[in-house]
Symmetry: C2
């Protein structure tokens, strides 16, 4: 377990909760009970200049990304987004055109997904820009899909293609809100997470919180064209499969369903989302570890997800 | 109007809203409609190392302050707080003891006010620590107290004492949740704001959004002991009254009620909150400017509130 994960776990254990806290910290979103038929989703996420974006990226794409990341978390709970508040940290000599561009990209995405932007806090951040987005969402009572409810023998699916997001996708991915809503409407999704730290790390989140393990199949990994091109160029020591397993910011859905539903799910998905690949990449196992199977045999996964502090 | 305020206004004008957006950006909290009897309050706020706190401050107090600021905004709407999510930006070589101390202070305050802490995002911030807190709250339908509803002839009140917060209060003030709840329960509060940028700036927020002006009376300003001590020491060019008018981070409530309620309010307040001063410091006027009256006569207010980028 990385130092970061240990720290986060010891923080989470001590956080105060209330009677209306249905799901607290440690999942893609919190779930809060309300008097109506719906429950409230609540999430915060942040991007930092030099880490998640640079001064070379167009501000419209940076604003887009800031909100898209949080939307991806609402998708991973099977919910629909509602309202966002934005904290932006700017240097003293901030460029107004940059800020307006940032909000233009963010607002456009908000409108696409019917999100209201209901508040903003602007603070001084002398060295680098940061932006924290908090987002509420709604989900039918008891229907939020957690990370902790994967079952042994479940089929493990992933949407889209993995790896090489750094070449552009991290700035213009479409959060899988529609796909997730369709999935939870038509199938009994046992567990779901969005891929932000890389498949190798995020499957561990599902396994650890569900008390299970997983076997992933290298041959079925949907490796992105970007990851293949990078590997071919030889400017990185990472084979394409390793990139698909460990690159961060894919923002695809990783989810588990009963194996009896697997074929039907694939068939129906292709009709509804013909342009978005769906891949069954493994299964949930009882033994609490992640195994990786390829032409060289089966062995414990040796890759890790993205560590925010390395 | 400062550059910051102009920028914020031009951002706010373009933010997308929804049908359920009762109050969008530009007030202390957003108000979102829900199916039940209550409406949802939503707020984000942030603190940055070197701006709102330093490495010399105990982490417990920094965590306390991070949440207390957002609680103060929920108070200013007359609401009760519900759940918080925390984004914290930490350097690569972060000190675990600092982080645990930060959360200890934050959690303790959360428990005092019955707030659940339901999520946290930890990101890398290489140069300095920052923390953004997003908070939800509840308020009875239609009962949120806005900034924009002050009426001509209203009495202007302020809780507590003003100025010199930098000497310690900014790290351990008690957000006026209870006081605000009592006020809105027993009186028809026309407009309210929490003092974060200084009275001179925050009264402008009420006046501008209500389309009114105000006359403030220097002789009735509750100048804090800290502000008086600072002025006496002569290590600052700021007279104590100027400090009370312009120092940031007082986190007191500034509010407007019908003048017919003013005496009754003062009387009842003193019975319920004997240790907390309450002062009638002026009145709302028709002419859209802020006037300041003292022994030298009456004139347009020449002080400004805290500018985040100066």
């Amino acid at each position: 377990m990385s130092r970061e994960i240990k720290l986060i776990q010891s923080i989470i254990e001590k956080l105060p909760i209330r009677e209306d806290t249905v799901v607290g910290a440690g999942d893609d979103c919190a779930v809060i009970d309300t008097p109506g038929d719906m429950q409230l989703l609540f999430k915060t996420d942040a991007i930092v200049e030099g880490i998640h974006f640079t001064g070379d990226h167009p501000p419209e794409k940076v604003g887009y990304k800031a909100l898209a990341r949080a939307l991806s978390d609402v998708a991973a709970m099977g919910g629909s987004p509602n309202s966002a508040v934005i904290t932006i940290g700017l240097p003293r000599d901030y460029d107004e055109a940059w800020v307006m561009g940032f909000y233009q990209g963010l607002n456009q995405l908000a409108q696409t997904f019917g999100v209201a932007v209901v508040g903003g806090e602007t603070v001084c951040s002398p060295d680098r820009i940061f932006c924290s987005v908090a987002l509420t969402g709604n989900v039918s009572r008891g229907k939020a899909v957690r990370r902790s409810t994967a079952r042994v023998r479940d089929a493990v699916f992933v949407t889209g293609e993995l790896g090489g997001s750094i070449d552009g996708k991290h700035l213009d991915f479409v959060p899988r809100i529609k796909e997730a809503a369709w999935l939870v409407k038509h199938f009994d999704v046992h567990a779901m997470i969005d891929l932000s730290d890389g498949l190798a790390g995020d499957i561990q989140h599902i396994c650890r919180s569900s008390g299970v393990g997983a076997e992933l199949w290298g041959a079925y990994l949907p490796v992105s064209r970007a990851a293949k091109l990078r590997a071919r160029k030889g400017d990185t020591a990472k084979p394409a499969v390793a990139a698909a397993m460990t690159d961060g910011e894919d923002f695809e859905l990783l989810f588990c369903v009963d194996p009896a539903e697997a074929v039907s799910l694939k068939d129906k998905w292709r009709q509804v989302f013909p342009d978005t690949p769906i891949s069954c990449i493994g299964k949930i196992i009882e033994q609490p570890e992640v195994l990786f199977k390829d032409q060289n045999g089966i062995r414990p996964l040796r890759w890790h997800g993205y560590d925010h502090f390395q």
